[in-house]
Symmetry: C2
Subunit: 157 residues, 2 copies
Amino acid sequence: MDAPPETLEKPAANKERLRLWIRLLRAARVVEGELRDRLKREFDTTLPRFDVLSALYRQPEGMLMSDLSRFLLVSNGNVTGIVDRLVTDGFVVRANRDGDRRTSIVRLTEAGSARFAAMAEAHEIWIAELLGEVSEEDARRLSVMLKAFRSNWENEH
Amino acid sequence: MDAPPETLEKPAANKERLRLWIRLLRAARVVEGELRDRLKREFDTTLPRFDVLSALYRQPEGMLMSDLSRFLLVSNGNVTGIVDRLVTDGFVVRANRDGDRRTSIVRLTEAGSARFAAMAEAHEIWIAELLGEVSEEDARRLSVMLKAFRSNWENEH
DNA sequence: GCAAAATATTTCAACCTTGAAATTTTAGGC
DNA sequence: GCCTAAAATTTCAAGGTTGAAATATTTTGC
């Protein structure tokens, strides 16, 4: 016997999930907005640029455009524009890859790496400050839940 | 004696908060992306338009542009554009308010109200489906945490 | 080898988003 | 009653975002 589909199982649970989603989205927007302001004020940059630098910082050997797009959960065309601007600013380079002329490896420059290191340090402090009310215990629990949510999602899609 | 500032209190807790933030942001993006796709496919609309309709649906007497902006956590100029397009589509009207010619009350039309009701029904099911792995118990706990986070934020800002 | 399918990326139009400047109207001080 | 400040909104430029179409290259099947 199959279990009934989740969505019909218990109406109250679904209302609770809806409330959860709305609050999660609002919390994310509040924090995101604050980070955007601070990145602009203190480093004259944007959140998407920060995200790209962050991804590249973890992969010193570089990433393909499609790697970036998949990792950041944004479209290919989007990454093109952001990387273009980062190249103009001198924080990133596109290196030719012999063997496949369709692709190029995107890598941080020295300047980009140094710049990101400074931003990351501030960023960590900002998050500590913005999420200061969340206890270490709560943070751990919530974090585990969200990780489970995501791996589950990845497996199904 | 004052307690030490949160950010210096315990480095491990801050790492945990940083991890939490990253996971929260990713979860929000995954769900948001899926909602965007479905709203487009099934109702030929966008998330920001849905958000505006949703806000207006809860306030049948209408809202000022600045009310919408504050409630949705987006800029004034942003709301102007979205409402303009909703007016063009016939889902929303701007009514003159006697007494103050700077402002106008934005309200749902009959069509807008009916349209939103249909979308809201689907939306609730989608969320139930997307967050199906989160137990009712977890949802409630998480939801309470996020609510506390937000009221705390509101009080400080 | 070559045509066709698959892959990686860019381009583009439409929309979303912000923050700052401009516009319009109202409220206050005198 | 004026003049100035305040308030609500719109306008605008720059950038972010998507999805679809276009481009360029590589791989596959035969």
